[in-house]
């Protein structure tokens, strides 16, 4: 068991990407992809916190945490230094198979599934704050393995809004 925190702290404005549309190196701003670190790895998502940072006008920002209909392929990395993935406890031992996380996919970007949106995290980025936390392990949305449908998730912005700048953190636990 190892809890880790992924954060984005540069107040980036996400791009709305429709379901089943591939993410790219252009529309991946303020998005995050997670995939199981092995075929049997289990990852639970405990907490989502998003702070609206838009400066001047109403900005409905429809952030979504969702399963994917096409999994990411290749190493996942971060596009900029404003993203971070870190252990929460300084004494956490290094995982044999770290959970791949990032907003850049080396080979193929994932696509958000149209039917498996797990958590609606939208907010008005002009002054809004969103927070969700699970109370028990069995209440956490989770991924298992690396296969399509259950082994790959994305946190991203969907279409229909006028996204504004946000920053956020996500806490997850690998087991």
């Amino acid at each position: 068991m190892a809890r880790r925190i992924t954060s984005q702290n540069a107040s980036l404005t996400p791009t709305g990407v429709a379901d089943t549309t591939p993410f790219t190196a252009v529309n991946n701003v303020a998005a995050m992809f997670y995939r199981g670190g092995s075929t049997t790895q289990y990852v639970r998502f405990w907490e989502f916190s998003i702070s609206g940072m838009a400066a001047s006008s109403s900005s409905p920002t429809p952030m979504l945490f969702s399963r994917d209909s096409a999994v990411s392929v290749g190493a996942l990395t971060f596009a900029a230094t404003s993203y971070n993935d870190s252990n929460m406890d300084p004494f956490t031992a290094a995982l044999a198979a770290p959970t791949p996380v990032g907003n850049v996919a080396a080979t193929t970007y994932p696509q958000r599934d149209v039917a498996n949106h797990l958590l609606a995290c939208g907010l008005n980025a002009f002054g809004g704050v969103y927070f969700w936390r699970a109370n028990r392990a069995e209440e956490c949305p989770a991924i298992y393995g690396t296969a399509i449908d259950i082994g790959d998730v994305t946190f991203s912005c969907t279409t229909g809004g006028t996204p504004g700048a946000v920053n956020w953190h996500i806490i997850y636990e690998t087991s």
Binding site: L123, V129, F131, E139, Y144
Partner: protein
């Protein structure tokens, strides 16, 4: 003596604070496919949530809801309306359909 288990002890917590924001109208939320909970400007939502044991969608409990909530007796857990309909139509709680069963087998 051990702690008494209650279903409420499993509840998650969601907070959407638009007290210092113009908020989001129902129309704006609808345009996003309901990716935003429509909380108006100057308002703040704090609510309990549960995670559907079938599809793992996180559901915000509407405190004003009068209809009964779907429930799976096999995993002793609330399920979302869509999966509740599947249960009523005879779909069973199995390894492949219930995340609670998967978690027990993986842990």
């Amino acid at each position: 003596m051990g702690k008494l288990f209650t279903k409420k002890s499993r509840d998650g917590y969601v907070m959407l604070d638009h007290r210092e924001s113009p908020g989001v109208t129902c129309e704006e939320a609808w345009r996003t496919g309901n990716a935003i909970i429509p909380i108006g400007g100057g308002a703040k939502l704090e609510a309990a949530t549960f995670t559907c044991s079938k599809c793992q969608k996180v559901i915000v409990k509407n405190p004003g809801r009068m209809r009964e909530r779907a429930y799976c007796r096999k995993c002793d857990h609330d399920v979302c309306d869509e999966c509740g309909l599947q249960l009523k139509l005879g779909h069973v709680c199995t390894f492949g359909t219930c995340w609670h069963v998967i978690q027990v087998n993986v842990a």
